[in-house]
Amino acid sequence: MEQLTTIGLNHYLTLSAILLGFGLFAVMTRKNAIVVLMGVELILNAANINFLAFSKYNGGMEGVMFALFVIVIAAAEAAIALAIVINIFKIFKSVDVSRIDSMKE
C-alpha cells in the first residue's frame, strides 16, 4: 500500500515507460511526419524523466545536467527536423512518411 501512496522511483520509471510507449507508438504508427516528430519528443522526454528520477535517487547532479542537454538538443533537433520536414514537403508535396520510401531502391 505504501508503495501506491508514496511516490517512489518506480512511479517515475513507470511514467517514463508509458511515455516511451506512447512515443514509440506515435513514431511507428502515425503517418504524419509532424506527429512522428512529436512522438520523438515524447521519447526524449521519457528519457529525461528517467535521468531526473535516477538523479534524484542517486543524489548527484549528473542526471539533471544530462536532462538539460537533452532539452537543448531536442530543441535543436526539432528545429532541424522541422526544416527537413519542410524540405520533404517541398519535394514530395506531402508529409506522409509512408510515402517517402525512395531509399528502398
Binding site: V36, V97, I100, E105
Partner: protein, 751 residues
C-alpha cells in the same frame, strides 16, 4: 694433282654445265640451245680423246693408274659405325680412259644425230638437257674410285634414264615404261647398297683400292659366305642396270623413249654400267659368286635371244639383242674372261649404237613406223643407212672382220676354258648356251635385215586403223586418207643423222681394235685391259693371293701405304705366265690357259653357228623354203612363248604386282578395320567420356553454381521484402530486435 685428273674432272663437269644451261635457258636460246649441247659434248669428247691418247697410245702400259681423292664428308667417329669418312675421288686407268672416250664419243654422236631426229619436238631443249645430265652421271660412274660415289652416280643414271624413257610422257605406255624401269632398277640398287654396306662394315672404307688391299691382306673377318654374298649383292646392281635375268623386263619397254636415247642409254652406255661395275669389283668376287654370275649371264643371253627371234618391232628386236649381248658380257665376267668381256662391252657399244641410230633413221624415214612387218625394200632408198646397218649387224652376229666377232669369240673361248677348268659337266652348259645364242643372233639379225631392207615394200599391207594410230604425230598425213599409204616419200636421212652412222660403222670394224681379224688378244685393247689377279683366290680365300705374290703392283703399293704387312711379290713357282702376267691363283691360271687353248675351237664353232643362223634366216625369209608362218603354227606354243617374251611380264603381273596388290588390299583392310577401328574406338570412347563429363558438368558443376545463385537470389528476394525504405518499418524492426535481445538477455538472467 695430275693434269689428266684435272682434265677428267673438266670432262665430267662439262655435260653438267650443258644440263644446267639448257634446263633453265633453252627457251631463250636460238635453236633451243642444241648447239650448246653439241658444242659442250664436242669439247668433252676432245678432252677425253686427249686423255685416251695420253693413256693408251703414249703410255701404253697395262698397269697404268693415277688416282686422286679428297675427303668429302668427315663425320668423325660415328657411334655404332666407327670412323665414317666419305671420300670422293677420280681414278684414271686404261679402262677408264677407254670408257671415257667411248661414252663421250657416243654421246656426241647421239647429240648430233638428235638435232635431226628430234627436230621440231616441243621439248627439244629439255631433251638435250637430259642428255647432258645422263652423260654427266655416266662419266661419274666411270671416273669414281669408290663405291659410295659410284652409287650416287648410279642413282643419277637411273634418274636420267627415267627422265628420258618417259620423254614422251603424254603417252601412257611411255609413262608406264619409265616407272617400270625405275622400279626394276631400284630392286637391283637395294642389293647393291647392301653389298656396299657389307664391305664397309668390314673395312670402314668405300675406296676400291683400299677394299682390294684389305681383302688381299685377309682382313675380312666374316666367313667366306659373306664375301660371296657381298659380291652377289653388288652384282644385283648390275642385274638391275644391265637388264640381266630376272630384272631384264624394263629394258625392252624402255624403247618407249626417243630412239637416239635408246642408242645412247639403253644400248651403248648406261646398260654397260652394270658390266663396268662388275669389272671394277671383279677381283673381290669369289669363285662361287662368279659361277652364279656366269649362269645368270648365260640364262639372260639365251632367253633374250629366243625372244628376239619373234618380235615384230624393229626396236624391240634390238632391245632383246642388247639384253642378250649384255648376258654375254656378264657371262664373260663370270667365267673369268675379263678382258674379253670389257672388249665386248666397247665393241657392242659402237655397233649397237649404230644399229639403234640406224633403226632410228628407218623409223624417221618411215614416218614413225616401227613394225618390221610393214617395211621392206628400203635398201635402195636408204643406201647409207643400209650399209652402216649391215656392217653393224654383221658385227653383232659375229662374222669375221668385224669387232663383234673378236670380242664375242674371246668370251666364248673363255667360256670353253672355264668349263674345262671347272671339270666339265654342267659347266659346259655355259659355252653351249653361248654358241646357241650366237646362232640365234645371226638368225634374228638376218631376219631383221631381210624384213627391213629387202623384199617387196609391205607398207600398203598394214591394217588401216593401226596406220592412223601410228601416225598420230602426223595428223596432216592422216587427213589425206588411206590411198597414199605406199606413197610416203621414204628418203635417206639428212647428213647430221648419217654422219654418226658412218663413224659408228667404222668403229665396228676389226682394224680399229686388232691387226689380226681372228684374234682380239693381239690387239691393243685386250693388252691394255689385262685380267686383274683376284684377291680372293680359290685355295685360300684371302691370304693366298697375296702371299703367293699375285697382287697387282699398284695394289701392293696401296698395301704398303696403308701399312699392311705385305711380303714383296715374289715370282711363285706355280705361276702361269700369260701375256706377261702371273696368275698364281691356280683356278684363274687354269681358266686363262684353257681359254687360250680353246681359241681356235671357239672360232670354228662360232663361225659355224653364225653361218648356220644366217642360213636359217635365208631359208626362212629369203628363199622362203620354209614358211615362217607355217612353222610358227606348227610349234605354236613355243612361238607364243617367245612372242610373249617368256611370259615374264605376265609372271611378274601374277606374282609381284598381284602380290603387292593383294598385300596392299590386306593392308588397306587392316588399315580401315583395325587401325581406323582403334582410332575410331578411341574417338568413341572419348566421345562417351566427354558425354558423361558433359552431363556431370551440366548437372553437377553447373547445378552447384546455379544453386548458389538461386539461393542467393531467393534469399535476396526474401530479404528485399524487409527493405521497404520506410523509416517506420526500420523502427519497428529495431524495436523487435531490441525486444528480442531483451527477452534473450533477461531469459538468461532469470535462469
Amino acid at each position: 694433282m695430275h693434269s689428266l685428273i684435272q682434265l677428267s674432272i673438266v670432262v665430267l663437269l662439262l655435260p653438267l654445265l650443258s644440263f644446267v644451261i639448257l634446263i633453265f635457258f633453252n627457251r631463250r636460246l636460238p635453236r633451243r640451245g642444241d648447239f650448246i649441247g653439241v658444242g659442250i659434248l664436242g669439247t668433252a669428247f676432245a678432252l677425253s680423246a686427249y686423255i685416251f691418247w695420253s693413256v693408251i697410245v703414249q703410255t701404253y702400259d697395262p698397269a697404268f693408274r693415277i688416282a686422286w681423292d679428297f675427303t668429302w664428308i668427315d663425320l668423325g667417329n660415328v657411334p655404332g659405325v666407327g670412323p665414317l669418312k666419305i671420300k670422293m675421288g677420280v681414278v684414271i686407268d686404261n679402262l677408264t680412259s677407254i670408257m671415257l672416250a667411248m661414252v663421250t664419243l657416243i654421246s656426241l654422236l647421239v647429240h648430233i644425230y638428235s638435232t635431226g631426229y628430234m627436230k621440231g619436238d616441243k621439248n627439244y631443249g629439255r631433251y638435250f638437257a637430259f642428255l647432258g645430265i645422263f652423260t654427266f652421271s655416266m662419266l661419274g660412274i666411270i671416273l669414281s674410285d669408290n663405291l659410295f660415289s659410284i652409287y650416287i652416280f648410279w642413282e643419277l643414271v637411273g634418274l636420267s634414264s627415267y627422265l628420258l624413257i618417259g620423254f614422251f610422257f603424254e603417252k601412257d605406255s611411255a609413262a608406264d615404261a619409265q616407272k617400270k624401269a625405275f622400279l626394276a632398277n631400284r630392286v637391283g640398287d637395294i642389293g647393291m647398297w647392301l653389298g656396299i654396306l657389307i664391305l664397309y662394315s668390314q673395312f670402314h672404307t668405300f675406296s676400291f683400292e683400299q677394299i682390294y688391299a684389305n681383302l688381299a691382306a685377309g682382313n675380312f673377318a666374316l666367313s667366306n659366305g659373306w664375301l660371296t654374298a657381298a659380291g652377289l649383292l653388288l652384282f644385283m646392281g648390275c642385274v638391275g642396270k644391265s637388264a640381266q635375268f630376272p630384272l631384264h623386263v624394263w629394258l625392252p619397254d624402255a624403247m618407249e623413249g626417243p630412239t637416239p636415247v635408246s642408242a645412247l642409254i639403253h644400248a651403248a652406255t648406261m646398260v654397260a654400267a652394270g658390266v663396268y661395275f662388275v669389272a671394277r669389283i671383279f677381283v673381290i668376287l669369289t669363285p662361287d659368286a662368279l659361277h652364279v654370275i656366269a649362269f645368270v649371264g648365260a640364262c639372260t643371253a639365251f632367253m633374250a635371244a629366243t625372244i628376239a627371234i619373234t618380235q615384230h618391232d624393229i626396236k624391240r628386236v634390238l632391245a632383246y639383242s642388247t639384253v642378250s649381248q649384255l648376258g654375254y658380257m656378264v657371262l664373260g665376267l663370270g667365267v673369268g674372261a675379263y678382258s674379253a668381256s670389257l672388249f665386248h662391252l666397247v665393241t657392242h657399244a659402237f655397233f649397237k649404237a649404230c644399229l639403234f641410230l640406224g633403226s632410228g633413221a628407218i623409223i624417221h624415214a618411215m614416218h614413225h613406223e616401227q613394225d618390221m612387218r610393214w617395211m621392206g625394200s628400203l635398201w635402195k632408198k636408204m643406201p647409207w643407212t643400209f650399209v652402216t646397218f649391215t656392217i653393224a649387224t654383221l658385227a653383232l652376229a659375229g662374222l669375221p672382220l668385224t669387232s663383234g666377232f673378236m670380242s664375242k669369240d674371246a668370251i666364248l673361248a673363255g667360256a670353253i676354258g672355264f668349263a674345262e677348268a671347272e671339270g666339265g659337266g654342267i659347266y659346259y652348259l655355259i659355252p653351249t648356251l653361248g654358241f646357241f645364242c650366237a646362232m640365234l643372233t645371226a638368225f634374228y639379225m638376218g631376219r631383221q635385215i631381210w624384213l627391213v631392207f629387202f623384199g617387196e615394200s609391205r607398207t600398203h599391207l598394214k591394217p588401216a586403223d593401226n596406220h592412223h594410230q601410228a601416225h598420230h604425230a602426223h595428223d596432216s598425213h592422216a587427213t589425206h586418207g588411206d590411198a597414199h599409204h605406199g606413197a610416203h616419200e621414204v628418203h635417206e636421212v639428212s647428213w647430221n643423222m648419217r654422219a654418226p652412222l658412218v663413224i659408228l660403222a667404222v668403229l665396228s670394224l676389226f682394224a680399229v681394235y686388232s691387226p689380226d681379224p681372228l684374234d682380239g688378244a693381239k690387239g691393243w685393247f685386250m693388252k691394255m685391259i689385262p685380267t686383274p689377279a683376284t684377291v680372293v683366290g680359290a685355295a685360300n680365300p684371302q691370304k693366298g693371293a697375296l702371299l703367293s705374290g699375285t697382287v697387282a703392283p699398284h695394289i701392293a703399293g696401296v698395301l704398303r701405304t696403308t701399312e699392311v704387312d705385305v711380303p714383296q711379290p715374289v715370282a711363285a713357282a706355280h705361276g702361269e705366265a700369260k701375256g706377261g702376267h702371273l696368275y698364281t691363283d691356280p683356278r684363274q691360271a687354269e681358266i686363262v690357259h684353257a681359254g687360250h687353248a680353246a681359241h681356235y675351237t671357239a672360232i670354228y664353232i662360232s663361225i659355224t653357228m653364225v653361218l648356220l643362223g644366217m642360213c636359217l634366216a635365208l631359208v626362212f625369209y629369203v628363199f622362203k623354203i620354209i614358211d615362217p608362218e607355217k612353222t610358227a603354227r606348227a610349234i605354236r606354243p613355243l612361238y607364243l612363248f617367245s612372242l610373249n617374251k617368256w611370259y615374264w611380264d605376265e609372271i611378274y603381273e601374277a606374282t609381284f604386282i598381284k602380290g603387292s596388290m593383294v598385300l596392299a588390299r590386306m593392308l588397306s583392310w587392316f588399315d580401315t578395320n583395325v587401325v581406323d577401328g582403334i582410332v575410331n574406338g578411341v574417338a568413341t570412347l572419348v566421345r562417351k567420356f566427354a558425354f558423361v563429363n558433359d552431363g556431370f558438368d551440366r548437372h553437377v558443376v553447373d547445378g552447384m553454381v546455379n544453386f548458389t545463385a538461386f539461393t542467393v537470389n531467393t534469399t535476396g528476394a526474401v530479404l528485399r521484402k524487409l527493405q521497404t525504405g520506410k523509416v517506420q518499418t526500420y523502427v519497428v524492426m529495431l524495436m523487435l530486435v531490441l525486444f528480442g535481445y531483451f527477452v534473450f538477455y533477461f531469459t538468461r538472467l532469470i535462469y
